[in-house]
Amino acid sequence: MESNAEMRALDAAARGDTTLLGDLLSQHSDRLRRIAQARIDPRIAARLGPDDVLQEAFLDVARRIGEYLEQRNAQSEERLPFFLWVRLLTRQVIARLHREHLGALKRDAGREARSPRQALGCTTVLIAHQLASSHTTPTGALRRIEQREAVAVALERLSEDDREVLMLRHYEELSNQEIATLLGVTESGASMRHLRALTRLKAITADLELSQ
């Protein structure tokens, strides 16, 4: 399960040398930054960037690596693979920061300028906006805007479970094995969930295009 690099970094950390652990975190930082970017509520995105989240998350890793190493040493079945454990800490940091910042925003939430797209639901819109803004086929600017809008609305209409599996797969870019671990299903089960979510997204997008 552990790559050689992870094994060496964690073995060294267990001996008190955390240099390689720092390297390992740097290696994961692009993926973690994307996760943070996708999950930060747009209402506070202006004051809180992905790097702020990563900084907090890495501090938490430093504070809690002892617990993780104990679980590893005890060969606990509950232990997550290292990347997924760091991802979990990152999500916890985001939740904490949301509580702090959005709590402060409550009193003037009405005055907070929110675009209609943000009002649709931050996660969905953000994913759709960032994902659909990229193109690997040249279809023209207008077509891109239409597609972006259609995907945003279609994602909004999907169930939470479908949306989450697409998010994990396409935005967080987790491997099928990692998604299976997170969802507690087999790898083929994770593949099927993804396929079904994708099929439903495609159907909704097609309906939207027909109705336009």
Binding site: S191, L195, L201
Partner: protein, 350 residues
């Protein structure tokens, strides 16, 4: 159910390819799938291509595929590219230690014999032992690639420092003090002179061992945590004897001086000399102080002489260049002493 499983298998494979290669030739991919799945797959994979965010610079910086199978090495991550090729942090199974693995492209006009010859040359260059030269641990050939494993140096290459400072200053040529605040702390012009002096002294010793510089650039020099400069031995090649009857007779010393001069020029101006020459017209280098007025005249003069187009205009050897840089570093201007004294008197409080 079987159809769904089959679809999921193809969707997973399409995603894997998009993630690894940054793109997918949809038509070619669909041609591999059974007829009855093609329409459905076309729609699903088109949706994946819309969903997949485009990353600047293509797929993540994974090592090039051929390296994954390099026997005896476990590639860990890509490092800042060196001047001669890509570099990776890797674990050597034979040595049971971390190494920096430099991967060099095949030499031009390659063929098996040319490749073998290049590896043999590198093995001889690798024998050069010097306190400021990064020790080489292994040299080998893998397919059409040549790899050189060296001691990993914990620090920053001068090219990383230069490029970071250039970005921070918003353009080339802002204060070369510059090179200041690199990983190993602030660098003054005196520090810069000391670093280039060390390089010049290494080149002088290397010349006595039959080695010549083969393109020196800031990516070849790394400063460790204590500020000690380390030169990659890949910056050298075996000296070739001059053609019989060549005039004037040359042992290549002044060619080495010019390469060190261009290296110094880039560190001072934060621009590769070749770029400056191209902007200003061929065979002409803009004076470093025209790019940055804070560069001391003494250092500018040393760099300009070393870069002189005619060999006779340059310092006679790397040792002479080192001596001039030493004078500068010790704040003993070799020339213009009185002008310097006047400036100092004007600037001093009365």
């Amino acid at each position: 159910m079987a159809r769904e499983e089959e679809l999921a298998k193809y969707v997973d494979e399409a995603e894997r390819r998009v993630a690894a290669e940054g793109t997918l030739d949809l038509e070619a991919f669909l041609a591999e799938a059974p007829d009855e799945l093609r329409d459905e797959l076309h729609k699903l994979i088109s949706m994946i291509l819309v969903l997949r965010p485009k990353r600047p610079g293509g797929p993540p910086s994974a090592p090039r595929a051929p390296l994954d199978d390099l026997p005896g090495y476990d590639i860990y991550r890509r490092l800042a590219p060196g001047s001669k090729g890509d570099a990776y942090l890797a674990w050597s199974e034979a040595l049971e230690r971390w190494v920096t693995l430099h991967v060099l492209p095949a030499p031009e006009g390659s063929g098996e014999s040319r490749l073998t010859e290049r590896v043999r040359d590198l093995e001889r260059v690798a024998q050069f032992d010097h306190a400021n030269v990064v020790p080489v641990l292994d040299v080998g050939q893998f397919g059409e690639l040549i790899y050189v494993a060296t001691e990993p140096i914990d620090g920053e290459t001068l090219s990383e420092t230069v490029s970071r400072m250039r970005d921070q200053r918003g353009g080339p040529g802002r204060s070369a003090r510059a090179v200041a605040a690199g990983a190993s702390g602030p660098l003054t012009f005196q520090d810069l002179a000391r670093i280039v002096r060390t390089i010049a002294l290494i080149v002088e010793v290397a010349r006595t061992r039959g080695l010549r510089l083969e393109g020196l650039n800031p990516g070849d020099v790394c400063l460790d945590g204590s500020g000690k400069p380390w030169l990659q031995s890949l910056a050298f090649r075996l000296a070739t004897p001059p053609p019989a009857g060549a005039y004037p007779p040359s042992d290549g010393a002044r060619e080495d001086v010019q390469q060190i001069g261009l290296f110094l020029y880039e560190l001072l101006t934060l621009r590769p000399a070749i770029e400056t020459a191209r902007d200003a017209g061929a065979n002409h280098l803009t004076g470093p102080r025209q790019i940055d007025r804070s560069i001391p005249k003494g250092l500018e003069s040393i760099a300009q002489r070393a870069c002189a187009p005619e060999p006779a205009g340059r310092q006679a050897s790397a040792a002479v260049l080192a001596e001039e840089l030493d004078h500068f570093a010790k704040r003993v201007p070799p020339r213009g002493l009185f002008r310097g004294l006047r400036s100092w008197l004007r600037a001093s409080p009365r």
